[in-house]
Subunit: 275 residues, 2 copies
Amino acid sequence: MPDLARLSVNQICVLPQWTLPQAIDGLARHGVAAISVWREKLAEIGVAEARARLDGAGLKVSGLCFAGLISAADRAEAAAARDDVRRAIDEAAAIGAPCLVFLSGGVDPRDKDLAATRARVLDGLAQLAPHARGAGVVVALEPLHPMACATRSVLTTLKLANDWCDALGAEDVFGIAVDTYVTWWDPDLAGEIARAGKRIRAFHVSDWLLDTRDLRVDRGMPGDGVIDLPAIRRMVEAAGYTGHVEVEILSARDWWTRDPDEVVRTIKQRYATAV
Amino acid sequence: MPDLARLSVNQICVLPQWTLPQAIDGLARHGVAAISVWREKLAEIGVAEARARLDGAGLKVSGLCFAGLISAADRAEAAAARDDVRRAIDEAAAIGAPCLVFLSGGVDPRDKDLAATRARVLDGLAQLAPHARGAGVVVALEPLHPMACATRSVLTTLKLANDWCDALGAEDVFGIAVDTYVTWWDPDLAGEIARAGKRIRAFHVSDWLLDTRDLRVDRGMPGDGVIDLPAIRRMVEAAGYTGHVEVEILSARDWWTRDPDEVVRTIKQRYATAV
């Protein structure tokens, strides 16, 4: 039996199968140490009940997924999106999540201007800093795969996340989430992970399938793809990260269709052998 | 009527619809200045007939697509792949193509070692230099989108292409192909295009569709997506590029199903308004 003390399972792995209460009970039953909570499922029961159930099950929270998408060129839209991030920060604090995973949002098709879009997101993040500080929640900037640049994240590289952290100058409030699936291809990966150092507040693990069929929901179980996951884990830990190792698999054609107990059993086994 | 003197149409835009003779005749009939030839179609008629037909139609060749995939960990496989590149170099010379588009190949799933894979490709390129020099053909290194890293290209960024050109130290033999579709997301794009400078031997244009459904063959017609194509063209031209602007659209669900004359007419119109 592997040591599961650092394993976190992101709720997205069993999102269609389990409610949040079912996921909390299920993961605790399997001896998993922590969960990363998905906001849409949290909304179904509210933060008070979620917190009570998490505490009752003795399950830690590694993060809250996700908020952001503040990249719109329209000022009112962007302001509304920032307000939603503030609500998410409060939710994270209420359930004891150490960090909120932040996705920037994609390029605005109305102006197609990547540089301007990135500048808007960076400015929006600066505006969110006081609220995050007040709540004691770290906003973990997660670069997504460049194939998400049009729709969900103009933050496409770890280097840019580090550049933004440098520019924000608020290491107590802003961190970085490193995800193997979205960063493994990056020639600068080792250098930028080392540069991130203590900024790394979350480490997400899934695998890239050779026959990937979808740009968002076709991630592989660790060991089923081509990513050298142990090598990236070593980089992250050499940079000083000692937190949870969070398995996060979006899989419409495979794992979302399976018995959730089988999914969790497989995650535990692969965590021991392929991560 | 726009000036078509710099427009090249990559044969892939009408690959299922037209043979090479049909494509040569069709593009010449539409007043397009140049074609980029696809190897599988070239093989159907051979280099001698192709050259005669190109010359007869007065159509220039902007490049030959593609060769490479030399990334295998197996020595015999990699050697065979390099031999195929040498054949492609000879084909490029025979049809008067100034450059051969080179794709590195993906990560070898047998070792999952990206650093080692990249080192093998770089070493393989160095071995190809004498043959390319003898043939007078430039090998244009084309970084592909990071979503192709597992299958077709461990060369995932323009920065790495520039690094490889630095390492190879043979500017007469190795160049770079800049493709808007595979590089537009890159925060370092402007800087690395400027760095590439005269290395840029080909400029490929297509658009990123908001509802992209496939990782390879769902590219958009210029103007139908979210890429600021004129901005990237300005970068490339500011770097000193004066060659053809090559429209290269792989589109299984849309343009490959249409009347090829409609495809070419649309390319000409969009070249004038959206590139």
